[in-house]
Symmetry: C2
Subunit: 166 residues, 2 copies
């Protein structure tokens, strides 16, 4: 932690660097083709109305080396919450406190916005991440599972159940 | 399924009925005190800018008997997605196709908005729900866990890590 970590909010012109980090994570997770998002979508989604996300950047040596991307969600028990979608640190800059700095800045932002809860997801075999989150006071929920349906399946479902009555 | 199910989007004036359904679910889940949300928050969050959610209502016998509440999320791989936060059917009206009608209407809305994915969470012991979702083509993710931090813990974390550098 000799080098200084500089944190700031991402601007539209940072989106190429953000997309590079997103792709780096996908490569690392051995899903290099999973990123369907284009640069122009990312620029549009983050910097026009409705704005879909906010993004904090970490810089070292004048380079973008990490990011925390988040957006509001809504709980019918708690109201507005913040969801941390991605916390990415570039491989060459791990172990230097970048992840912790971004995590702390995200939580500071949650405090500032006065939300009643923050949340995110973690892979259940990622023991170091789970330990880090738990040591910070976060709780890993054991009994909830995520369910997803992709666009192809949505379209197929609607075709087969076409009595849309709204 | 003799009686007709009528679906429509919730209006601000429906929020007392929506809060009643939210409370009914909390009671059912034996968490009667979990609903921290007030009626005025719900009215404000759903019907001013930024709008935090959309809500579909199901009516039978001129009464609100079910709801599907959802909002956009953002995936750095897929872009905008829709999250189904709550799918609630009033206890006395279960087994009449209300849940399926709301689920189908939510998916029709996802198709209309051209999102690349929809998602939600399910309790892992809720086998009938899991079977229903899977039979519709949705996938239950086995290796992701939800992590949450509540407001008290956020505040405590920030107090103890007060070198906020943004």
């Amino acid at each position: 932690m000799d080098a200084k970590i500089h944190l700031r909010f991402a601007q539209k012109g940072d989106m190429p660097e953000v997309l590079r980090l997103i792709q780096e994570l996908a490569d690392f997770e051995k899903e290099p083709d999973a990123v369907e998002l284009s640069l122009s979508e990312l620029e549009n989604d983050g910097f026009s109305t409705p704005k879909r996300f906010d993004c904090l950047l970490a810089e070292m040596d004048q380079k973008v080396v990490g990011m925390a991307l988040y957006y509001p969600r809504y709980s019918t028990w708690k109201g507005v919450t913040l969801h941390l979608e991605d916390l990415i640190v570039s491989n060459a800059y791990r172990g230097k406190g970048v992840g912790t700095a971004l995590y702390s800045a995200f939580l500071a932002e949650a405090k500032k916005q006065n939300v009643r809860r923050v949340e995110w997801v973690v892979l259940d075999w990622n023991t170091p991440a789970i330990k880090f989150y738990e040591s910070s006071g976060a709780k890993v929920l054991q009994d909830w599972k995520t369910v997803q349906m992709d666009q192809e399946t949505i379209n197929k479902y609607i075709e087969n159940n076409s009595n849309e009555n709204i």
